[in-house]
Symmetry: C2
Subunit: 296 residues, 2 copies
């Protein structure tokens, strides 16, 4: 019987240890490194790195092979949160139950800590695990894949659209596209980079892409639901903020109950895409269920 | 007889054409891409990419082999200018004779355009010129080298120290260290990544590191000198700003004339490091002289 809580906790520890090792090598001691560590080690769920490790395991690889990619994905995710929280963007003062980086430090330091985390991600990707020559091509493919997902055709463009969407009425299609860019692309890159590094076949990667697309979508629908009916104490951030900002969300467009059943359908589709993987994909199945059952 | 102006102009055209090709593939059409293009194509000197191409040529390689690295270096340089100009940092409204990115667009867009340019640099580095398997290792080394130079032990840390240095009295050593991080590291990475991709030997790379360290240092001394006695019309930015901000500079610590002769000594040392390279290093020699003779 697969126990998700144990799996998540053991993977979180592996990821946290790895991130701590990276940090000590990636910046000189001082305020910049303090700010990077403050946000990177703030107790995030580590969803993206765990998806990456689970992606490697699903195709018969090991978590070790994918660890640098997992670490890089969490660095990129953290940098994006730091920049998104800035006064010029979402102007949030609370994240994971703690003051956001620009509140705990200052704006300039927060911008630079984000820049340094993004840069560190690519340093880690280029130095990690070069065990044999035949994996070099795969590593370059992974760098490319993660960079595309994070950049101007992915996450950054998604944040642009998210800002533009404040006080705007979005259609369901536009909202779905916004989130596919803002969060979906990096979640997809997480699962797929793990599967690439674990030696997955083209067919396996395609199935995992379908899985990741569906859980990424469901993740955002659930996020919107939590912003309506979540518990701020569990979430570590304020709720009701989307409505305050007149943001189009899945609940605002399709209603709260319909949003919940839609998220459930997406998770069913995600799990269906794992049919061929057998027990090796148990973690990915359990994570899919966790995404809609989570309270934070 | 080597003609620097012709060399620079031909290389600038190659770099500009390459950057334009990259841009069209790296972001979706819209405001984000406009802001990226606005800053990236604003008529910079292209010093870093040209140093990269010249580094490849100095060791007997071709400019083509190093072009993706050259493009990536200019993207990283441009992102750093966009973020440094932000209100939370240097708060500059003029750059290369045009309104800075956050003035021409807005702060959120400028932050995101910088983020997307930094990310695009690594996308370009991972997809560029994979002609044969034996160069993959070199490409990963180049990604690592550039990421280190740009990140928390390089350029970003340099900008942190630059901000902390406002209204502070720095020693000559501290000022030199600040600039070695803020501009020196990336200039060194420019020459060396070109030389690595051009197939340079360890000894050649070491000599080019010495060359680059000296011109990088001289470049900053000259920048400080231009901030005292330069022509705002030629520079495309305001002068006298260092004194206004009570910044420690080479002229403020060692005097204007001493700064000029110091820059000249550094350039002589840079050129001496090129002794073994013969005519292939003529561009690097001419660029060294250009660095202290430039008016902008």
């Amino acid at each position: 019987m697969f126990e998700l809580a144990i799996y998540l906790e053991s993977k979180r520890q592996i990821v946290n240890r790895y991130l701590e090792t990276c940090l000590s090598g990636a910046a000189l001691p001082g305020r910049l490194m303090e700010a990077m560590a403050y946000s990177l080690m703030a107790g995030g769920k580590r969803l993206r790195p765990i998806l990456c490790l689970a992606g490697a395991e699903a195709v018969g690889g090991t978590a070790e092979e994918a660890l640098p990619a997992a670490g890089a994905l969490e660095m990129i995710h953290t940098y994006s949160l730091i920049h998104d929280d800035l006064p010029a963007m979402d102007n949030d003062d609370l994240r994971r139950g703690k003051p956001t980086c620009h509140i705990a430090f200052d704006e300039a330091t927060a911008i630079l800590a984000g820049d340094a985390l993004l840069t560190m991600a690519f340093e880690i990707l280029s130095t990690g695990n070069r065990t044999h020559a035949d994996t070099l091509e795969t590593w370059l493919t992974v760098v490319d894949r993660i960079a595309r997902a994070a950049g101007g055709r992915g996450m950054v463009e998604g944040q642009m659209r998210d800002i533009a969407a404040e006080n705007a009425e979005l259609s369901l299609d536009d909202l779905a596209r916004l989130h596919a860019l803002k969060t979906g692309a990096l979640i997809q890159a997480s699962v797929c980079s793990g599967a690439l590094l674990g030696g997955g076949s083209t067919e396996q990667i395609e199935n995992l892409e379908a899985y990741a697309r569906n859980i990424g979508f469901a993740f955002q629908v659930k996020d919107d639901v939590l912003n309506v009916e979540g518990d701020p104490a569990l979430l570590g951030k304020n709720v009701g903020t989307d409505e305050l900002r007149h943001k189009s969300t899945f609940p605002s467009i399709m209603g709260l109950e319909k949003s919940k059943s839609f998220a459930k359908e997406l998770i069913e589709a995600a799990i269906a895409a794992l049919d061929q993987f057998g027990h090796r994909a148990d973690p990915l199945r359990a994570i899919a269920n966790y995404i809609i059952e989570r309270k934070r």
